[in-house]
Subunit: 347 residues, 2 copies
C-alpha cells in the first residue's frame, strides 16, 4: 500500500501515515509538484538537468541492530546512504521515498517509551530537512523484520554527473574528511553492547543506552554526513574526473573505481587521513564513512577543503600493468597489494 | 550495497549481480543514460515532461507466499504493482529499480531446481520487457525473509497526469477490464494449497504445483496486466478527470478517489463487470485486479474498449451530502452504503 492520506479506512497504517504525512508536510514546492497522497509523486527538474536515482535497502541484523542502534540513528543512516550516492554523482537531492516494513510492535508505544518508528522518522526527517530533501512518498507494510528501502531522486546538469569511469593514469586521488571513523564507532558500539549484556536475541526489547562520553566517538558511525555540498561543488567547478562514495570501504570502493575506469591506483599510507579513533585497517577496509573518493588531473588545483570539509591527496592513478595488483599500498619504500576487504553480502 | 558490475571482489552477491546485469542488459538507450554499475542511474526525460515516481514493497507472507506463488509470479506481481501506479497517472515507464532482500537459500539451486531468484527475475524481466521498462538499478541484501521493493520512474507531459483529485459531481465512473478475478484466483490458490497439505511452515521447501486446468483461472491473480497503454491513451485524449488503480479493492480505492476529489459516488451493481470466476463481494472488495478506475465528464464520449481492454460505465459521481454515505451501491431500487472493505495493513 502506498503512503496515502487519511481516508475513509481506519486502522494502524493510517495513524502511522498521518504521522509521516504531518512530519513530511505535503512536500510540495521545490521540485515536488505532488507529494504523498496519489498513486505516484510528481517531480519536476530544471531545464537542462537529468535525473540521478538510487535505492538503498537497510535490514535489521544486516545494516543495523535494534538493540544497538538508537532508532534516530537507523533513520539517519538509511537516508544518509542514499544521499551519499547522490553526492558521489554530484547531484542535488530533489526528493526521497521510503518503503518501510515494520513488525507491529515497533509502531506502538512501549510503556512510557514512544514508538520506535517515531524515533526512526525523527532521524530520517531531520537529515532530510538539513539536506533540503522532501519525503515525497513511499510504501508501508507489516514485516516480520524491520527494514527500510530508501530511494533518492536527484538532478544534475546533463552530461556533468561524476562517474566512476572517468579516472585516467596520471590523475591524483583525493578523499574528503577522515577514514575509518565509522568502523571504529561500530567496534565501540559492539563493545558497549557486550558490556551491557545485549545480544541479537534481545532485539527490540531494549536499546543500548550510550554513555555521554562516547557520543562524539560514535557520531561517525551513527550520524554520518553525506557530502552533498562537496559533490555539487566538484560538478560546478568541473574539477573531478571520477568519483565514488566510500560506503563499503576504501579498498573495495577504490577497486570499483579502478575497474570502471580501466586504471590502477597507488595509495600512500602516510597520507591517509585516518580518523583519530581508527586503526589503519579500519581506515582501509571499514565501510560506511560516506566520504567522497575522487580523482582529478594532476594539473588541476584542488583546494584543501571544500565547504569546511578537508580534502586530502592520498595517491595517484596509474596504468594497469599485467602481473601488478590493481591497487597498491605504498608504505615508505614498500609496495604491497591492497586487496578489497570491504563489506560484501552473500559472500 | 548497490547493483554493481562484477568487480574485483568475489562472492555470491557478484554472481547474482552478474545474472541480473546480464538479463537486464546495460539498460542504456531510451530514457536510461547510465544503468546498473555506478552510484546512481542517470535518466533523461523528454522536453516538457515531469516525473512520476512510486515505490511498492512486497514481503513474503504478506504479499506473496513462497509455498503458494511460483517465483515467476512473485517477480511479475512485484513489478505489476508499480507499473499499475504509473498507469493510474497516465505516465509512460522510463525505468524500474529493484531492491531485493533474500535468504541465502533462495539464491542457490535446490538439487535439480534452479535458484528461486532466477524464476523471480524471469517473471519480473519478462513483464519489464513487455512494457518496455528497463531495469536500471537497485540494491541487494541478504535478508531473513524474502522481500522486493520496486521503484518505478515514469514520465508524463507537465500538468497532464491523471490525479485522484479531479473528479466532479456529474462525472461518470468507468472501470477497465473485469473485477474480482485476482481475489477469486487467490481463493482458488489457497484451496489448491490446502488440498496439497501446504502450510506457512513449508515455506520455500516446495512450491505448489498448479494443475493445468487452473492456470487460466489463476492468471488474473498470478499475472495481472498493468493498464499502461490505457493510462497513456486517457492522457493523450485528455478524457479522464480523475483516476486510480484498483490495488486494494474497488470499495477502498473508490473511497480514496472520492476523498481526494471531495465528492461522493454511486455504483450500479448490475453494471459491474464481475469476473467470470468471482463473486460480487470479490468484485467489490477484492484487491490486486490492477484495473483502472477513472471518471470523465458526462459529455465526454468514452469508447467501450481501449487498446483491446473493455471499458465499463459503473456509476457516477455525486455531491457529498451530510448523513449520506460517501459511496453508495445501487441495486435496483435499493441503495446501501458501500463501506471500504479492501485490504489494509497494520489494521
Amino acid at each position: 500500500m502506498r503512503l496515502k492520506p487519511e481516508g475513509t479506512s481506519s486502522g494502524g497504517e493510517l495513524a502511522l501515515l498521518g504521522q509521516i504525512r504531518q512530519r513530511a508536510g505535503r512536500a510540495t514546492g521545490g521540485g515536488v509538484r505532488l507529494g504523498i497522497g496519489d498513486d505516484c509523486a510528481l517531480l519536476r527538474l530544471r531545464a537542462g538537468e537529468e535525473l540521478a536515482v538510487t535505492t538503498d535497502l537497510s535490514i535489521t541484523e544486516r545494516h543495523f541492530r535494534l538493540d544497538w542502534h538508537p532508532a534516530e540513528a537507523v533513520g539517519h543512516r538509511a537516508l544518509a546512504r542514499g544521499l551519499s550516492d547522490l553526492a558521489a554523482m554530484g547531484a542535488r537531492p530533489v526528493a526521497a521515498f521510503l518503503s518501510l516494513g515494520l513488525p507491529r510492535e515497533l509502531t506502538k508505544a512501549q510503556g512510557r517509551r514512544r514508538p520506535w518508528v517515531t524515533g526512526f522518522l525523527d532521524g530520517l526527517l531531520n537529515l532530510a530537512e538539513a539536506q533540503e530533501t522532501p519525503l515525497a512518498g513511499g510504501d508501508l507494510a507489516e514485516s516480520p523484520v524491520a527494514l527500510a528501502d530508501i530511494v533518492l531522486v536527484g538532478a544534475v546538469a546533463r552530461g556533468k554527473a561524476l562517474l566512476r569511469s572517468g579516472a585516467r593514469p596520471g590523475d591524483v586521488l583525493y578523499v574528503t574528511g577522515k577514514l575509518g571513523g565509522a568502523a571504529a564507532g561500530l567496534a565501540r558500539l559492539a563493545e558497549l553492547a557486550g558490556a551491557s549484556g545485549l545480544s541479537e536475541r534481545s532485539v527490540g526489547s531494549r536499546a543500548l543506552k550510550i554513555p555521554k562520553k562516547f557520543v562524539a566517538e560514535l557520531a561517525a558511525h551513527l550520524y554520518p554526513q553525506p557530502r552533498i555540498a562537496q559533490g555539487l561543488w566538484l560538478v560546478r567547478r568541473g574539477l573531478a574526473s571520477a568519483a565514488i562514495d566510500l560506503s563499503d570501504g576504501l579498498s573495495t570502493d577504490l577497486a570499483h573505481l579502478c575497474e570502471e575506469s580501466g586504471v590502477a591506483a597507488e595509495v600512500d599510507e602516510a597520507a591517509l587521513p585516518v580518523h583519530g579513533a581508527a586503526s589503519l585497517a579500519q581506515a582501509l577496509n571499514g565501510g560506511e564513512d560516506y566520504e567522497l573518493l575522487f580523482t582529478a588531473p594532476a594539473s588541476t588545483r584542488v583546494p584543501r577543503a571544500i565547504g569546511g570539509v578537508a580534502v586530502t591527496q592520498i595517491g595517484r592513478m596509474v596504468p594497469v600493468r599485467k602481473g601488478r595488483p590493481r591497487v597498491v599500498l605504498v608504505s615508505g619504500r614498500d609496495k604491497q597489494a591492497l586487496e578489497p576487504r570491504g563489506w560484501e553480502h552473500f559472500s
